[in-house]
Subunit: 117 residues, 2 copies
Amino acid sequence: MASTPADVKEVPGALVFEIDMPGAKTGEIKVQVEDDHTLVVSGERRRAEDKEAKYQRMERRMGKFMRRFPLPEDANLEAITACFEEGVLTVRVEKKPPPEPKKAKTIEVKVGGSSEG
Amino acid sequence: MASTPADVKEVPGALVFEIDMPGAKTGEIKVQVEDDHTLVVSGERRRAEDKEAKYQRMERRMGKFMRRFPLPEDANLEAITACFEEGVLTVRVEKKPPPEPKKAKTIEVKVGGSSEG
């Protein structure tokens, strides 16, 4: 199992996930939303195949990986972007603007036709 | 201290070091040879400064890092290349060709002037 440590941060208007996956290939990384409230990032890191290579040290953890992150209620699932750069995947989930506070309904006060007219 | 797992492999004619350092910047990575027989790779990983960010999760290990690897006797210190791609630094150290086996010295055998001519 590959090691994929993640940071999750809230910035104004969005939630940002930063996940280390050095050496992964862009085409091998999948970013999905499950059940409308879970962000799922999966993929695989592989060593280059080289039959002539003789390893003296193998510290890098390779293999498949999957990370799941709950998304908040106000996540805008239509506004998710993912970008892979320098071995770091950044997924940005925009937040829906908060619903406008309901205006208190004003009831007009009519001057009652007084019986004491 | 940032986490920088490494693979070391021998390939025909060279020794190859692959070191994970996702999110490091090329300008912040130093590759040096010390005392003619130690490869030293150092640098720093930093979180983007963003005063408005509120972290919910911080798994990625940031900070300075340094890795030292012994080099073999036959390393060609004039032929070292380093390349940073997808968060992985690859350092390739060519090996000097083995010295040619010394040819056995052949001593010509002259026909001795025989005293019994």
